[in-house]
Structure formats: structure tokens, C-alpha cells
Symmetry: C2
């Protein structure tokens, strides 16, 4: 009733992260695309997760985590993000290179090793992309944020997070020295002015990946 294998954890994690920065529930087909599996595989796993009380699902409807499911999901996300932070902070990885490694290690590391890493890093609150690292009890501290692509011209603030979905975007932004904490003003659509007065043109893909202070 309770074990949650690596595959199930991936489903829970993906359902969780889908609603982390926007509020619509995920559909089975969207989940299939994100996980790279066939829709029928999703149906099957959804049945198991619902039977275990980790998600709720009415046939032909969207998916939602239960409290138990959210706890399990945040535990996986916590692992993933602590590992990413560690890879960048101690192991010489760049922020566009950590995702795949963390994807695998998050299912392999013991709680003990995870806490040893957490301690070495000084209990970080965010990963290299600016995503909040859930606490061990599942608590997540997430500031209000707007997508740069949807911010109004004139908006001033700082970068909160950059989605790690597209490594090319991450490399582009790293080259432009833009990352979590960068302060800016939106001078025109896709044009930001940094604190030192330099302006940067961001691609539409980047603008759709950058979340800034509301």
C-alpha cells in the first residue's frame, strides 16, 4: 500500500511541479508527454497511485495530489533540488548540466546522505535555478512571481527562478549573466535593463522560462 518505486515517484513529482508556478491541474496526456510515456501507461499508473491514496482522479478528468501524495512528491523534489545544488556548489557542474544527473540520483540517495549534503551546503533554501527546496516536512516557501513574458513594460524587479526545462535557455542566460537574483527593469517586450545600465534582449523562449518578482 505504501512503497512508491522510482517510476511512481516520477509521476508524483511531475504532477507536483506542474502546479508549482501555475495553478491549473495537469491532464493525463500532458503528464504522458512530460514523462515521455504512452497515455495508456499513465492511465495504468494513475490507477495505482489513486488506489494508494496519493492522487485523486475521476475518470476522464485531471489529476490532483492528495495531502499524502503531495508529501511524497515534495520529498522527491527536495532530493532533486538538493542534489542539483550540490552538483553546482561542490562538484563543478553548471546549472544547465545538473538536471539529468539529479533525475537519477534522486531515486538512489539515502536520507542520511541527503542530510549530509544538506548540512554541507548550509541548508540552502533554493536550488541553482531559483526553485525553492521543500523542507523535510513538505513545507515550501514560494514567493509570488510573474512570468517575464507576461510582465508589463516598465515592470522592475529581480529574477526569482528560471525553469530548468530547456538547457539551451539556461546556457543562453548564463552567457548573458542573467540568473536568480539579477535585478532589472523591463524596458520593452523582450528587452530588460540590468542594474548596471546594460540592456539585454531575451528570446521569447527565455522570457517564457523566467519568473520575476510580482
Amino acid at each position: 500500500m505504501n512503497h512508491t518505486t522510482g517510476a511512481a515517484e516520477d509521476y508524483l513529482k511531475t504532477i507536483y511541479t506542474h502546479t508549482e508556478w501555475q495553478s491549473d491541474l495537469i491532464s493525463p496526456s500532458a503528464l504522458a508527454v512530460r514523462l515521455g510515456v504512452a497515455p495508456s501507461s499513465v492511465t495504468e499508473m494513475v490507477k495505482k497511485l489513486a488506489a494508494s491514496g496519493l492522487i485523486t482522479h475521476v475518470p476522464y478528468g485531471p489529476l490532483a495530489l492528495t495531502d499524502a501524495g503531495r508529501l511524497r512528491a515534495t520529498a522527491v523534489v527536495r532530493r532533486h533540488r538538493l542534489i542539483e545544488t550540490w552538483l553546482v556548489g561542490e562538484m563543478g557542474y553548471d546549472w544547465d548540466q545538473v538536471h539529468d544527473e539529479a533525475e537519477i540520483l534522486e531515486h538512489a540517495i539515502s536520507d542520511r546522505l541527503l542530510e549530509a549534503i544538506n548540512t554541507r551546503l548550509g541548508f540552502p533554501a533554493h536550488d541553482p535555478h531559483g526553485d525553492p527546496i521543500p523542507a523535510a516536512d513538505g513545507t515550501v516557501l514560494r514567493p509570488p512571481a510573474v512570468l517575464l513574458a507576461e510582465a508589463t513594460v516598465g515592470h522592475a524587479g529581480s529574477v526569482l527562478r528560471v525553469s530548468d526545462r530547456d538547457p539551451a535557455v539556461l546556457r543562453e542566460l548564463a552567457a548573458d549573466l542573467i540568473g536568480p537574483g539579477t535585478e532589472f527593469t523591463l524596458a520593452a517586450a523582450l528587452t530588460i535593463v540590468l542594474a548596471d545600465g546594460q540592456s539585454r534582449l531575451v528570446t521569447p523562449a527565455a522570457a517564457a522560462s523566467i519568473w520575476v518578482t510580482a
Copy 2:
């Protein structure tokens, strides 16, 4: 023809380590016991490994690695031992606590991360138990060694390795400050005298786990 999953890697690793400090080939049933699986499971996997050219096996006979199999096996052993060394050297583990964690991580870590760890550690030649860490090309440097239980009284030398099979033995020896590098003289069966003149009584289990300079 070539993938080698985690399970297959465990079979290869176990076949390899069985002949590392003694020279008789392993039998299918011994392999089953070590891996904790049924004999029939061994038969099945053996068939696959033989078909992939990683081991040789005549029906009802013992198992032996081919050159390709040995290369694959030493790669896994290399991972395992580097991870153990890292857990002890940087993550605050004791030498009796690293085995299980390494057992899992050895199948999850990427080559890149492994080399990052190797570099941080300064390219160690031995793990915390004194086992040699194979080079990336499969080369292993193993000094001639005798089991303490089989050494003649009067034998003087130093501890080369302690088998990590039995954590209780490792804890016992750690309490007695005995480990790889410890110099001693065998004063009587199960009694050793250390460099500082102190003598120690070792249990039969420990004497059967300690390998010393020949």
C-alpha cells in the same frame, strides 16, 4: 547485446570480487547465496551474460569472466570503491556504514560525477577497507596478501585490507584501532602485537577477514 542493467552489473561484480583475493572460480549456487536470489535466477542471468560474451560457462560448471566481462566488472567495482572512499572521506560515514549506500549509488552515478569525486579525493588507490580501486582501464594493483587466520605465528607485517562483508567485524576492529596500514607481529594464534607494544586478541571472524602483507 551490450547494455548491462543494474542487476547484470551486480552479477559481474560478485563474480569478480569472489576471485579477487582467492583463486577458485565461483559456482552458481555460491553466486545465488551472495546475491540473495534463487539458484534458478542465477541460471537465467548466466545464460544472458554468456550470450553477451561477458562470462564463460559450461553447463553444470563454474563461472568465469571473459576479458570483456572483467572490464565491465572492474568498472562497477571502481565505482563502488570510489563511492565508499568518498562517503568516508567527505560525508562523515564510518567504514562499516558505507557498503549499502555504495551498493545503490554505483548503479546511479554518471561517469562525469564519478570522475569529479575521484579528482576531489586525489585519485585514491585504495578504499577505506584497503581494497584496490581499479583504474578506468580496468587495471588493478593488488599486492600479495595472506589471511591473518592462515599466517604462521611470528609473522610480522601490516594490514592490507579488511573484508567489508561483516560490518560487526569492521566495528570491532575500528574500536581496537586496527585497519589498513596497522603494523603488527603475530604473537600467537589470534593474538597480535602492535607497533606500540600493545597486544590485541582478535576474534576468529576477524582473523578470517583480515589480509596482511605476505
